[in-house]
């Protein structure tokens, strides 16, 4: 049963990313050229609504479907990993025109070369695992 729910959430997320064009290379390019409010509106409105919900959840006014408290795990402290990792990610996001969510969406939409990007992103993750101890965090 739960598997069906997760599948449904994924289908919703995939449809939204496709239909909002957040999975389009052109939209990502346009965003980094500050050519339209579109992508900023998507991320901004999601964050505003999300933060209102999380504030309520943290005060214990909302519990999860199973009745548990909704816990937000704080990210580890650090600076370099977030800035340097973020810059590396941003370079790739702009070049491929897709972040991890849209990678899956574009595969479903039938853009076959995205498979190359997906495989390379798995290799990139593996590479990080190999080099992790040598990197500043």
């Amino acid at each position: 049963m739960r598997t069906v729910i997760y599948l449904g959430v994924g289908i919703l997320f995939g449809i939204v990313l496709f239909k909002s064009e957040a999975a389009s290379w052109f939209r990502i390019y346009e965003m980094f050229q500050f050519g339209s409010f579109h992508m900023y509106g998507i991320i901004g409105s999601a964050v505003v609504i999300g933060s209102v919900f999380i504030q309520f959840a943290k005060k214990g006014k909302v519990t999860s479907f199973s009745g548990n408290k909704i816990n937000m795990i704080p990210k580890e402290r650090g600076f370099y990993r977030y800035l340097l990792g973020g810059i590396i990610f941003g370079l790739g996001w702009a070049l491929a025109g897709a972040c991890p969510g849209p990678l899956f969406v574009l595969a479903g939409a039938g853009y076959v070369p995205i498979v190359i990007v997906i495989i390379a992103s798995i290799l990139g993750t593996f590479l990080y695992g190999l080099l992790r101890d040598k990197l500043p965090h």
């Binding site: 598997t3 496709f18 795990i73 990792g85 941003g90 390379a120 990139g124 190999l130």
Partner: protein
Amino acid sequence: MNWIQQPWPWYVAGPLIALVMILLLMLDKKMGMSSNLRTLCAICGAGKTTSFFRFNWKAQRWNLVVALGMVLGGFIGENLLSEDPTVHIASNAITEDLKEMGFSDVDNAYAPDKLYADNVFNDPIILLILIIGGLLVGFGARYAGGCTSGHAISGLSDLQLPSLIAVIGFFIGGLLMVHLIFPLIF
């Protein structure tokens, strides 16, 4: 119902993305798509090489199911919910820039043929660009501990400073790529 077939505006898409994040929290889970890349490494046996991939990946199966759903969502979006998936860029200046860079199908496609048409498999330069793009996305997301969904949506919603630093990094990287590196490669 005609609006469903048109591109969805930000004020529809943003709240729906928030809904996805909220649904996952209500299911006692956390939104984060790049975690799936780490899980896939673990499934492929990367744990034999590095402890970073030695974790109970079976506990992450739910997220792989979400990713599978996203593949289906992409299929449905393209084939059932779009009369015409063409992306229209608002600014003429950007459209002209893209044409000059060789993206001749701007305003005429969802993803550029230059990078995502089937014939790119015969073009080693484009293949290299796609591989480098993927390596950077995968490496950077794991180094930063999350991608757009984990940091820009989920982390910023929780007002986490590390996520703000990561998102600033995403933009530094994206701006460098588009403004400094694109003129050299396209």
